[in-house]
């Protein structure tokens, strides 16, 4: 306990603020709120300049405004929307399978530590194996089908969920478990009233990574496992015919999807695991 205190006391001395912070205060929030837009605007400008000044041929890189137009038009009822929705649906299916199997399995494995130790190597091994490397294997099992794409994505996502949920339980605050036991809770009550809740924070980390993983694998599978729909399919098809505007629009759509899913999970997590970090 004493060591960290000593080290914080020994933190490097920082010079006192110069100037008059009081006069700067009113302007600060606005500037701070604008900060997140600096990066995107900067990228947009560079992109536009590069195309305008002819550093990259328009056949390889369309102008950003053209691309965004293609994206907006495509998503507003164009063919891009259909592919977008197909990818969303596949990702959601894969994610749901991973979550519905993975969280209970992880929590059970985590509360029986011996059981987890006996399968730990398998989980760690396949978690470390790039799921895309397993695509041919899944092709043999499921054939060239929609099921295949969902199955491989679900598999990749599942391991992440299991791992995080199991560790969430294993790292549960021992004192809360003791508190429940001393109040007379039996094993089942400790499990449902304490362990599951304690594991939620870690489970959410797992679910959030899992949905990203599912999206990655779905897109890859759509590119290479004879799909006729989906964002991955659209990206590779428009690249084949050098329809770059469409390709970039589809790439951006995939980015929008990934980002939106991430934000959605962060918000849900904050709602459900409201005690996190407090």
């Amino acid at each position: 306990m004493r060591e960290p205190t000593a080290s914080t006391e020994a933190a490097p001395w920082s010079p006192p603020q110069t100037g008059a912070p009081a006069t700067r205060l009113p302007g600060k929030p606005l500037l701070e709120r604008a900060l997140p837009f600096v990066g995107p605007v900067f990228l947009f400008v560079i992109w536009d300049l590069v195309v305008r000044l002819g550093f990259i041929k328009p056949i390889l890189l369309p102008s950003p405004s053209d691309t965004v137009m293609a994206l907006v038009q495509g998503l507003a009822g164009g063919p891009l929307l259909k592919d977008f929705l197909v990818t969303v649906w596949r990702t959601v299916q894969a994610f749901l399978i991973a979550a519905l199997v993975g969280v209970p399995l992880g929590v059970v494995l985590g509360s029986a530590e011996k059981a987890y130790r006996s399968v730990e190597f398998l989980i760690d091994f396949f978690r470390s194996t790039p799921s895309s490397a397993l695509i041919p294997l899944f092709l043999m099992i499921f054939g060239v089908s929609d099921v295949n794409k969902v199955a491989i994505a679900a598999f990749g996502a599942l391991l992440i969920v299991v791992f995080n949920s199991a560790y969430g339980v294993m790292n549960a605050r021992k004192q809360r478990v003791m508190a429940a036991k001393v109040m007379g809770a039996n094993r089942w009550q400790v499990f449902k009233d304490v362990l599951i809740w304690e594991s939620l924070q870690s489970s959410f980390v797992g679910l959030r990574s899992a949905v990203s993983m599912a999206l990655v694998i779905v897109i890859v599978a759509e590119m290479f496992i004879g799909a006729d729909s989906g964002l991955g399919n659209r990206i590779i098809n428009s690249q084949q015919v050098m329809n770059v505007k469409d390709m970039y629009a589809a790439i951006l759509a995939a980015g929008v999807l990934g980002y939106a899913l991430n934000i959605l999970f962060l918000i849900t997590e904050r709602k459900i695991v409201h005690w996190s970090g407090r």
């Binding site: 004192q175 809360r176 003791m178 508190a179 036991k181 109040m183 007379g184 304490v194 005690w275």
Partner: protein, 273 residues
């Protein structure tokens, strides 16, 4: 095969007869043995904890004050010995326990009120019974903060008050308190100390308090249990019988000062030994 052999070996060892404590004993500890990393922490430790009394446990660092109450409360397994509550086993006894670290004792996913009601729900009490008991507790603790908030929205002192209410909710026979004040500021310490004394005067619940603050240990206690260095034995049991309610004035009474001085002497003797 081996099971049969083991059974014979055990049969050859003479079993020490269980000697019950004097009348009015709540907790009887006999032959308690606990090893830590191969070294004895407690060896053949006997103790009687009286009923309807507050016992403060005080002793040198590392002598296992908290371990002692954790073993009695069943949180830490014992290597040998027997602990009985009024002749009953721990399973048949209702106990309450207050942790030093309230932050990790309350459940942050439940509202404070549900935390306090949790042990009652475990007992399968009906909603009406739970509500009645909660109203009683709120009245007796004179709660001024919003129990519908989550624990992390409360101050440290409020959280510890909630933990104590939770531990008292099922009307336990014995209440264990493991340094309940050491994470609190002085104002809150005083407040909770008074509340505990009030509850004790009202209900007579047997309390076992581990403390590292001698003044606080003596102030609340009917008996101060002073322990030796490990392997831990009872150095002395000091009786302090000033009438309750004890107040700030008690702190300057000659009897209080004498009890504190005597405790300190025993403590220092044991530390130097």
């Amino acid at each position: 095969m081996s099971a049969v052999l083991n059974a014979r070996m055990v049969a050859d060892v003479p079993v020490a007869p269980f000697v019950s404590g004097p009348a009015g004993t709540q907790i009887t500890i006999r032959g308690l043995t606990k090893y830590f990393a191969g070294w004895p922490l407690y060896e053949n430790f006997d103790l009687d904890i009286p009923k309807h009394k507050i016992v403060s446990v005080f002793g040198p660092n590392g002598c296992g004050k908290s371990t002692l109450i954790n073993m009695i409360a069943g949180l830490v397994p014992i290597d040998a010995g027997e602990i009985l509550f009024d002749g009953k086993s721990l399973k048949e006894t209702k106990i309450g326990y207050v942790f030093q670290n309230y932050r990790e004792a309350l459940f942050p996913w439940m509202r404070t009120i549900d935390n306090i009601a949790y042990p009652l729900k475990l007992e399968g009490k009906s909603k009406a019974q739970v509500d009645r008991r909660m109203a009683e507790l709120v009245a007796s603790f004179d709660v001024k903060f919003d129990l519908n908030r989550y624990p992390y929205e409360l101050s440290g002192g409020q959280q510890q008050t909630a933990s104590i209410m939770r531990s008292l909710a099922p009307n336990p026979e014995v209440l264990f308190l493991d340094e309940p004040f050491s994470a609190l500021d002085f104002e809150m310490t005083l407040f909770i100390r008074e509340k505990l004394q009030e509850v004790f005067m009202k209900t007579g619940t047997t309390m076992v308090l581990v403390s590292h603050d001698l003044e606080e240990a003596v102030y609340l206690a009917d008996q101060v249990l002073l322990l030796t260095k490990r392997p831990t034995k009872v150095a002395e049991i000091l009786t302090y019988s000033d009438p309750r309610p004890r107040t700030v004035a008690t702190l300057s009474e000659p009897s209080f000062i004498a009890a504190k001085k005597r405790s300190l002497e025993i403590f220092q003797r044991e530390v130097r030994r």
